[in-house]
């Protein structure tokens, strides 16, 4: 067996593969975060809406998504869903970057379901008199939510949302199953090209953990800087 030699993955072509994978993983996570967060807020507000059908939509969405593994979501959006599209659009999509698009769709839907639950429990932590007071003063449900409830719930909601972001970061690795060239995929490519599995996986693990540590530090910084105020 070869000796452990990191130089092969710390410079040259294979290093570039891993770095491009790392950057793509970060892009996937950021794009997903930007789309999933507003979707999650909408779902959480729907869950507390005064109309039962709206609440039903939100509950169904969250339960249906959370109880299916991300891998099955990815397979569905990559292999299954394009079949529904009319042939011209389908062939157009296949000429473009369908892997990354499917991965982002799956990640957005999955992450939004988890984030919606975190936001909802944050909203519920605000005493309901706040909503009643807002409504009494003449604000509508949406305006009260936006101007009174959501800003107050931030302190409770942000820490679990940050740890959800950590999960999102780890979940981007699953995109490799549909051939997205993110970090895990590149690690495997480097391994099969060089038979240097240990080196390639060591560097990749370090990549995942370093971003995870940054996210964890961000969370503890936030909790120290903006502690939850008791009402």
């Amino acid at each position: 067996m070869n000796t452990f030699d990191l130089s092969i993955v710390l410079s040259g072509q294979y290093h570039e593969w891993l770095v491009s994978g790392f950057l793509l993983s970060i892009q996937l996570a950021l794009i997903t975060l930007v789309i999933a967060l507003p979707l999650a807020i909408i779902l959480a507000v729907l869950r507390l809406a005064p109309y039962a059908p709206l609440r039903g939509i939100s509950i169904t969405y969250v339960e249906a998504i959370r109880n299916v593994p991300l891998l099955a979501h990815m397979l569905f959006w990559y292999f299954g869903a394009p079949e529904l599209l009319p042939p011209p659009i389908k062939s157009w999509i296949y000429q473009h970057n369908i892997e990354a698009v499917s991965a982002v769709i799956a990640l957005v839907l999955y992450t939004a379901a988890y984030m919606a639950e975190d936001i909802r429990s944050g909203l519920r932590a605000i005493p309901k008199e706040q909503m009643e007071a807002g409504r009494t003063l003449g604000f509508g449900f949406i305006s009260t939510m936006r101007l009174v409830i959501l800003p107050q719930s931030l302190r409770v909601t942000v820490p679990p949302l940050i740890s959800q972001t950590l999960n999102l970061w780890k979940n981007t690795s699953i995109a490799m199953v549909i051939g997205v060239g993110e970090m895990m995929y590149q690690a495997q490519q480097v391994e099969s090209a060089t038979f240097r599995g240990f080196e390639s996986f060591a560097v990749t693990t370090a990549g995942y953990i370093s971003v995870s540590i940054v996210i964890t530090l961000l969370s503890s910084w936030y909790q120290q800087r903006y502690p939850v105020r008791s009402a």
């Binding site: 067996m1 109880n67 593994p69 529904l84 693990t205 995870s212």
Partner: protein, 229 residues
């Protein structure tokens, strides 16, 4: 969809068994159950180290827990895939690889659940048991853990749900669990990926949703009982 179930239903449920290796849905359940059962002692051990008064146990285990929680499961699977044959000196099959990865990964998450369960009990339990002459270890095993276990049950069922979802990653190392079997069926029926993957999603949903409802019921039921005591 019905004709797919009629033709491939049995293959989907149990793989090629009895004419070949076991697979499909049954494989998913066996894998998830054995991973959780084997991960439990690992979790207890890690939890005891994490709350231990000795820094020599606490610090390294806390480090391991943080590192593993910052790593994707896929990474752990790949490490198991490479490390196991090197460490044991013989080829490990996909089931063994996946099981090892899941036991380590779940052990870490279980450790946090168990730690919370132990810390959630009043200190008086440990103190009174120690003053009755039990050693630290026997108090833990006979007094603390059985009580903590009851409080942990809902979280354990939820962890089982997570484990079932995690077994789907066996797909990547060609372990013939239900996701992989679905992709095999899809390869034989190239015109019907939509139905097959929708069926796969539905299968997971039925299993996981009913289990998480059970966890929710358990939580309410146990809360009522402990309020009476």
């Amino acid at each position: 969809m019905l004709d797919i179930i009629q033709t491939y239903g049995l293959y989907y449920l149990i793989g090629q068994y009895p004419n070949g290796p076991l697979g499909g849905l049954l494989m998913t359940l066996i894998l998830a159950a054995s991973a959780l059962v084997l991960a439990f002692p690992v979790g207890v051990l890690l939890a005891l180290c994490r709350i231990s008064p000795f820094a020599i146990l606490r610090v390294p285990v806390t480090g391991i827990v943080y590192v593993l929680r910052g790593t994707p499961l896929l990474m752990v699977i790949f490490w198991a895939y490479f490390l196991l044959p090197t460490l044991t000196g013989q080829r490990t099959d996909q089931f063994g690889t996946m099981l090892a990865a899941l036991v380590i990964f779940d052990g870490v998450y279980l450790a946090e659940i168990i730690r919370a369960g132990i810390l959630g009990l009043p200190r008086g339990q440990m103190e009174s048991s120690r003053s009755l002459g039990f050693s630290y270890l026997s108090s833990m095993l006979l007094v603390i853990l059985p009580q903590a276990f009851r409080n942990m049950l809902p979280s354990l069922v939820n962890q089982f749900v997570s484990t079932i979802k995690e077994t789907s990653l066996g797909y990547i190392i060609s372990l013939s669990e239900v996701s992989f079997v679905a992709s095999q069926i899809s390869a034989q029926l190239p015109t019907k990926p939509l139905q097959i993957y929708a069926l796969l999603g539905l299968t997971y949903f039925v299993m996981c949703f009913s289990l998480s409802r059970f966890a929710y019921w358990l939580e309410k039921h146990l809360a009522v009982r402990s309020a009476k005591v």
